[in-house]
């Protein structure tokens, strides 16, 4: 296995700082080439967008609980023209932007951008990424995206309303939706810029992980976090070009009069008849060819980080390391041939639905293997219920729900009924919020001491966990029940239908849970900000973990390591009989006396 020795510090042109001038400050903290600074820039940006996305969700929840009622206090500030009421146009904007912000501006960049950037070089014992300038660009390409999406809110008529899936013709024909003028075009440009950012990042991550591992760090000694980031980068590199191309096709359909996605002669809302013999379903294929792998881009890194946290606080080797790696790869591989399950009732050939159904069913298998391995990991350990561990455990508990509910919609006949209902909404919130977002919280608590050299407050962390856990289940579990009734998504006022009229009280319950959930994050924000300045100062390895990042100073300086890490074993050697401590860092040489070395009875 080829590994590259670490270059001396400063080889990428950023040297240590003494008496920092303005230019120096800008180079160090703004247009920084240091992967840690870039990771933190991603972290702070995405956390701010997380707040925006959460508030947008509350707008949706308000309308579903109190349709056409004035929003208290902020309603009149935001939409005084409507008297503080959410208009149906604005409602479409709310759910479109909630999903867009959460997926493209929070989850993908916080996993790959923030944690990927921060952790990859540290966990493989490198001094930085392979291409630091590319890395810097991957962050700064987020800013045009922020600008375009921000403008799409502010530019009349205020917000794209085509859904985050942006299905044509609604999203293409200029007059099909009130929000589909400039905001929809800006939306497309914004998402394209996020795509460029992810693309630059993924090339960098793949190269770095292949080329820059410390001596002795073979692929099968990598932490699962790194494996997950590696596979995610491959997914992004292969799937993203399709979305980018499709985005440009939609852009030219909107602005230049091409007809990739419009059938001949289409008239929407008295628009001019469309030319060209395009197909609306073509967009769905291209969109989901990226966006289904994107679902795994949004969960695999979380699974990797959760595996590391669970092994650390169970004080026990991860159960089935290689099956874990294979299942990550299996999920990614199958992830490319299941996109059609978003389209069972789209008008796609129903025979095609059958093949997509079989591949979709099979993707539940590697997910199940992962869950069993996590259960195997906590079996026989010494579990420490720290805040990161609680979040990681809740990931497992909640992912079981999100994974199992996926089987319902993989079953094509059942999907006929539950498609576009709240059953789907429940499913992906269990995977993305109760799964990924909880894993992200856990990872922030876990790696915070490395990032800032200080601990976050454990008691506040546990209160934050407990309340978030309660409220998220109150908000999302009940959605399964709504879905069973057939309650449709994306309706500004579902109570117009007699079938759904009686579901209002349950929606009010969910809305209050959602308000509680967002309010709880104040505790997190307080803890996070306060701990940066006043948290308890810690040394290199406060959790007693094994992987390489814990061998570097907290926080690591430029170039990361103050010694050359040499790796002797995998990252999960907790409780090894070779040493007296219950952890066994990857860099610690094995005992000199061969008699003391552990012999695996199976090998």
């Amino acid at each position: 296995m080829s590994t590259t020795a670490i270059q001396p510090h400063g080889s990428h042109g950023h040297s240590g700082s003494h008496g920092m001038g303005v230019g120096e400050f800008v180079r160090t903290y703004v247009f920084s080439l240091d992967h840690k600074i870039i990771g933190l820039q991603f972290l702070f940006s995405t956390l701010l967008w997380f707040l925006v996305g959460g508030l947008l969700a509350l707008g949706i929840r308000w309308q579903l609980a109190y349709p056409w009622h004035d929003m208290p206090v902020i309603g009149r500030m935001l939409f005084s023209a409507e008297g503080g009421q959410i208009s149906p146009e604005f409602y479409t904007t709310l759910f479109t932007m909630h999903a867009t912000v959460m997926i493209f501006f929070v989850i993908i960049p916080i996993l790959a951008g923030a944690f990927g950037n921060y952790l990859i070089p540290l966990m493989i014992g490198a001094d930085d990424m392979a291409f630091p300038t590319l890395n810097m660009l991957s962050y700064w390409f987020m800013w045009p995206a922020f600008f375009f999406i921000g403008m799409s809110f502010l530019w009349p008529p205020y917000g794209a309303g085509g859904g985050w899936t942006s299905y044509p013709p609604l999203s293409v024909v200029w007059d099909a939706a009130p929000g589909s003028h400039w905001p929809q075009t800006l939306w497309l440009l914004g998402v394209t810029c996020v795509g460029i950012s992810s693309m630059l990042g993924s090339v960098n991550y793949m190269t770095t992980i292949i080329q820059m591992r410390a001596p002795g760090l073979t692929m099968f000694r990598l932490p699962l976090t790194i494996w997950a980031m590696f596979i995610t980068a491959i997914l992004q590199a292969f799937a993203l070009p399709v979305l980018t191309a499709a985005g440009f096709m939609q852009l030219t359909d909107r602005t230049l009069g091409t007809g990739f996605f419009l059938p001949e002669g289409l008239v929407v809302n008295n628009s001019l008849p469309a030319t060209g013999g395009g197909q609306p379903i073509l967009w769905q294929h291209l969109f989901w060819f990226y966006s289904h792998p994107a679902v795994y881009i949004m969960i695999l890194p979380a699974m990797g980080m959760v595996s590391d946290i669970i092994a650390c606080f169970a004080r026990k080797p991860i159960f089935g390391y290689k099956p874990m790696v294979y299942s990550i790869s299996g999920i990614a591989g199958l992830g490319f041939i299941v996109w059609g399950h978003h389209m069972f009732v789209s008008g796609m050939n129903p025979f095609l639905g059958m093949t997509f159904m079989v591949s979709t069913m099979m993707i539940a298998l590697p997910s199940a293997v992962k869950v069993f391995n996590w259960l195997g990991t906590i079996w026989g350990g010494k579990i420490q219920f720290t805040t990161p561990m609680l979040f990681a455990l809740s990931f497992v508990s909640m992912f079981i729900i999100g994974g199992l509910s996926g089987i319902f919609m993989a079953a094509t006949p059942v999907d006929i009924f539950i498609h576009d209902t709240y059953f789907i909404v429940a499913h992906f919130h269990y995977v993305l919020f109760a799964g990924t977002a909880m894993a992200v919280f856990g990872s922030i608590y876990f790696w915070f001491p490395k990032m800032f050299g200080r601990m976050m407050d454990e008691s506040l962390g546990k209160v934050h966990f407990f309340l978030t856990f309660l409220f998220l289940n109150g908000t999302f579990f009940t959605m399964h029940i709504l879905g069973a009734v057939g309650f449709p998504r994306r309706l500004a006022d579902p109570y117009d239908y007699e079938t759904f009229r009686h579901l209002l009280p349950m929606n009010q319950f969910m809305t209050w849970c959602a308000i509680g959930m967002v309010a709880t994050q104040v505790i997190f924000a307080f803890n996070f900000i306060r701990s940066i300045f006043f948290g308890q100062i810690v040394g290199r390895n406060p959790w007693g973990a094994n992987s390489l990042e814990w061998m570097a100073p907290s926080p690591p300086g430029h170039g990361n390591f103050d010694f050359q890490p040499i790796v002797y074993r995998g990252p999960y050697e907790y409780g090894s009989p070779e040493v007296d401590t219950d952890f066994y860092p990857q860099t610690q040489p094995p005992p000199a006396d061969p008699a003391k070395r552990y012999k695996d009875p199976h090998h």
């Binding site: 309303g161 059938p263 129903p350 079953a411 409780g575």
Partner: protein
């Protein structure tokens, strides 16, 4: 605190199952918080059957994994356990077992349901072998209404005796009904929750849906695909009635239909 957190995770399977059981039983305050009344034929009931089958299967796995999870947390809490950490890296045998069993179960579900899918989406009802049943009516989704065009007396859509209605679909009971659905502008989805029927309508395409309605009454037609700001109010109704009443209603609708304005004035 480990005890407390273990119990919190134990609440997940307990409250999860309770929530579903409560809704299925229809106890206060969750009356009618379950699958809406199924008025469809064998296919619609097969969909419900499949839903409940998967619910049962996943429910067992949900409870089993939840209990195991709780038990491990309870037993191996660092504050309580006296056993040393079990140092091992996994078990090949276990991995094989817990790969093969779920794979078999998933493959079984996949194959088991194929006939239901074929009946609802592929095998259109036939009048006689090889002759597809014609559509009773053509339904066109449009921002923001359902335009309905009945075949009329001659049974053919597109002729002079067609009957036009908006958002008002009448269907004969206990018969194979075939509908031709399409869209005039953007995507819509033709969703009949009580019949377990859903099909997106796509401009530039035409599609067929078929079903049987087994109970008289008036029910909702829902648009299930985002079609613009008025998506929420794109509501139709369908009325299920016996054949005689249906024919009478159609005849009356034809009589009431104002067609004189469509006739070309003399000289044109």
């Amino acid at each position: 605190m480990g005890r407390f957190w273990s119990l919190l995770f134990l609440m997940v399977p307990i409250l999860g199952v309770l929530c579903f059981v409560w809704a299925m039983a229809g106890f206060w305050p969750m009356q009618n918080h379950w699958l809406p009344e199924n008025i469809g034929g064998a296919d619609a009931h097969a969909i419900d059957g499949l839903f409940l089958f998967i619910l049962g299967l996943t429910g067992v796995i949900f409870v089993a994994t939840g209990l195991v999870f709780f038990w491990f947390l309870w037993k191996y809490d660092a504050a309580v356990t006296t056993e040393p950490v079990k140092y091992f890296h996994g078990s090949h045998q276990l991995e094989v077992i817990w790969s093969i069993i779920p794979a078999a179960a998933l493959l079984f579900i996949a194959i088991f349901q194929m006939s239901v899918w074929a009946n609802t989406k592929i095998k259109r009802p036939e009048l006689s072998p090889g002759v597809a049943r014609p559509a009773l009516a053509e339904i066109t989704g449009r921002q923001f209404e359902w335009r309905i065009r009945y075949a009329g007396k001659d049974g053919i859509i597109g002729t002079e005796d067609d009957v036009f209605k908006v958002n008002d679909l009448h269907l004969p009971i206990n018969e194979d009904v075939v509908l031709l659905i399409k869209s005039q502008d953007v995507l819509h989805s033709f969703f009949l929750p009580h019949l377990r029927v859903k099909q997106d309508v796509v401009p530039g395409m035409q599609q067929f849906v078929w079903f049987q309605a087994k109970r008289p009454g008036t029910y909702d037609i829902v648009c299930a695909e985002l079609c613009g700001w008025g998506h929420y109010k794109m509501r139709g109704r369908f009325v299920v009635q016996n054949r005689a009443e249906f024919d009478k209603w159609l005849e009356q609708a034809w009589q009431e239909q104002e067609v004189s304005s469509f006739a070309l004035p003399a000289g044109e």
